[in-house]
C-alpha cells in the first residue's frame, strides 16, 4: 500500500470517528470535520457560482445540511465523497432556483485584483497590465464555464480546477469513470472553443 493510500485510509477512519461522535451529539467533533473540509467545499461552491459571497453562503448551507443528515450517513463511502455529493446537489439546486427567478440570477463576480481579501497570495504582487490581463482571463474563463451545463461544469471544476481524480468524482456523482471522462472531454472541447483567443 502506497503512502498516499495509507493516508487516505487513516483519514477515512478519522472521519468515521468524528461522524460517530457527531451522531452522539458532540458538536465539536463536527467542528473538526468542518475545519478539515471547509476550504474544499468553499472552493467547489466558488468554482460553480463564481461569486465569493454566494460561495460562503452555500458552504454554510452545505455543512448545515450535512449536520442535519449526518445520521443518514451509512459508512459505505468515505465521508468526503458523501459531503461532496451533498455539496454538489445543494449548489445545483441553488443554481436551478436562481435560474427560475431570473431577476435574482447570480452573476459571477470578477474580483478586483488589488486589495481583495480573497486574492490568492501568488497574485498579490501583480500590478498594471499583467494584473489587468489576469482579470480579463479570469472573466473569460468564468464566462466560458457559464456556457456549460451544471453536470459538465461540475466535472471540470472538480477535476481540472480542484484536481479531484476521476474515480473519486465517479463516486461523488454516482456514475462510471467512463461517464466522468466523457463529460470532461466534451466540456474541455467546448472550453477550448470558447477560450481560443487565450490559447494562441
Amino acid at each position: 500500500m502506497s503512502d498516499n493510500e495509507s493516508k487516505k485510509l487513516a483519514d477515512k477512519k478519522d472521519d468515521f470517528e468524528l461522524v460517530r461522535a457527531t451522531r452522539k451529539g458532540d458538536r465539536e467533533a463536527f467542528g473538526e470535520l468542518v475545519r478539515k473540509y471547509q476550504g474544499k467545499i468553499y472552493s467547489l461552491a466558488y468554482g460553480m457560482v463564481g461569486n465569493p459571497a454566494a460561495a460562503d453562503d452555500l458552504a454554510q448551507e452545505i455543512f448545515l445540511k450535512t449536520y442535519r443528515n449526518i445520521k443518514k450517513f451509512r459508512f459505505k463511502s468515505s465521508f468526503y465523497t458523501w459531503l461532496y455529493r451533498i455539496a454538489l446537489n445543494t449548489v445545483i439546486t441553488r443554481r436551478k432556483k436562481l435560474r427560475e427567478d431570473k431577476h435574482l440570477e447570480l452573476k459571477p463576480q470578477i474580483l478586483d485584483i488589488q486589495g481583495s481579501p480573497y486574492l490568492p497570495a501568488r497574485l498579490q504582487g501583480e500590478k498594471g497590465d499583467r494584473a489587468m490581463t489576469r482579470k480579463e482571463l479570469r472573466r473569460d474563463i468564468r464566462q466560458a464555464l457559464e456556457t456549460l451545463s451544471d453536470k459538465h461544469k461540475a466535472v471540470v471544476v472538480m477535476h481540472d480546477i480542484e484536481g479531484i481524480p476521476h474515480n473519486d468524482i465517479a463516486g461523488i456523482i454516482s456514475c462510471s469513470e467512463g461517464t466522468v471522462r466523457s463529460r470532461l472531454h466534451y466540456a474541455r472541447r467546448r472550453l477550448r472553443e470558447q477560450l481560443a483567443n487565450w490559447l494562441e
Binding site: 457527531t22 451522531r23 451529539g25 458538536r27 463536527f30 467542528g31 468542518v34 475545519r35 471547509q38 476550504g39 468553499y42 472552493s43 466558488y46 468554482g47 465569493p52 460561495a55 460562503d56 458552504a59 454554510q60 455543512f63 448545515l64 449536520y67 442535519r68 443528515n69 449526518i70 445520521k71 443518514k72 474580483l111 481583495s116 481579501p117 480573497y118 486574492l119 490568492p120 482571463l137 479570469r138 474563463i141 471540470v156 481540472d160 480546477i161 480542484e162 484536481g163 476521476h166 471522462r181 470532461l184 472531454h185 474541455r188 472550453l191 477550448r192 477560450l195 481560443a196 487565450w198 490559447l199
Partner: protein, 183 residues
C-alpha cells in the same frame, strides 16, 4: 496514426491515460505533425489556465469565523434529526411490494366485481354464503325456473342433492355452496 485519432485521444494523452504502444504511436505522430503539436499545445494550455483558475481563498480571519457562525446556526436547530425510513433500491423489496400490490388488486377485484361465471338474472346477488335459502317469485319448474350458477364448477348441494355447474332450482330451495353464486 491519423490526425483525427490524435485529436480524439488528446485528453487521454494529457491525463496520462495512454500507455505502451498507443502512447508510442502518439509520440511518433507528434514528431511528424506540426498541426497536432499545435492541438496538443492548445489543449495543454487550456488545462494550465483552468488549474490557475484555482479559487481565491478567503483570509484566515474569515476562515476562523466559519465554524463559529455555523455553530450558532446549528445550536439554533438542536440535535441532528433521526433518519426517516427511506426505501432504497433493492430488487427484492421492489419485488415484494409488487407482489403485495398484485395480491391486493386481485383480492379487491374478486371481492367487488362479479365473476365472469355469474349470470345475474334478476340483479339479485346472493353474496358469498356457505348456506343459502331462496324464495324466488315466478315459474317454479322447467326452463323458465330461475337458475343458479355454482360458480367455477364448484359443487353445491340443493335440497340435499349434489349439484355442479348451472342448474335450475325450485323456489324456497335451501342448500349450501362452496363458493359464490348468483340467481
Amino acid at each position: 496514426m491519423l490526425c483525427k485519432q490524435f485529436k480524439k485521444n488528446v485528453w487521454d494523452f494529457l491525463d496520462g491515460r495512454l500507455a505502451g504502444r498507443p502512447a508510442d504511436l502518439y509520440s511518433a505522430h507528434l514528431k511528424d505533425c506540426p498541426r497536432c503539436r499545435d492541438t496538443l499545445a492548445r489543449a495543454r494550455r487550456l488545462l494550465e489556465l483552468l488549474k490557475d483558475e484555482s479559487v481565491p481563498l478567503p483570509p484566515a480571519a474569515y476562515r476562523d469565523s466559519f465554524w463559529p457562525r455555523l455553530r450558532e446556526r446549528i445550536s439554533a436547530e438542536g440535535r441532528p434529526a433521526r433518519p426517516r425510513f427511506v426505501l432504497r433500491f433493492n430488487p427484492l423489496s421492489y419485488a415484494a411490494i409488487g407482489a403485495a400490490a398484485a395480491a391486493l388488486v386481485l383480492w379487491i377485484s374478486l371481492r367487488e366485481s362479479p365473476s365472469p361465471f355469474f349470470r345475474p338474472m334478476e340483479g339479485r346477488r346472493a353474496g358469498r354464503p356457505a348456506n343459502f335459502a331462496m324464495a324466488i317469485a315466478g315459474p317454479t319448474a322447467g326452463k323458465d325456473a330461475p337458475e343458479v350458477d355454482y360458480i367455477s364448477g364448484r359443487s353445491g348441494s340443493v335440497g340435499g342433492r349434489e349439484r355442479a355447474g348451472t342448474d335450475y332450482i325450485l323456489p324456497g330451495a335451501t342448500g349450501s355452496c362452496g363458493g359464490r353464486f348468483e340467481v
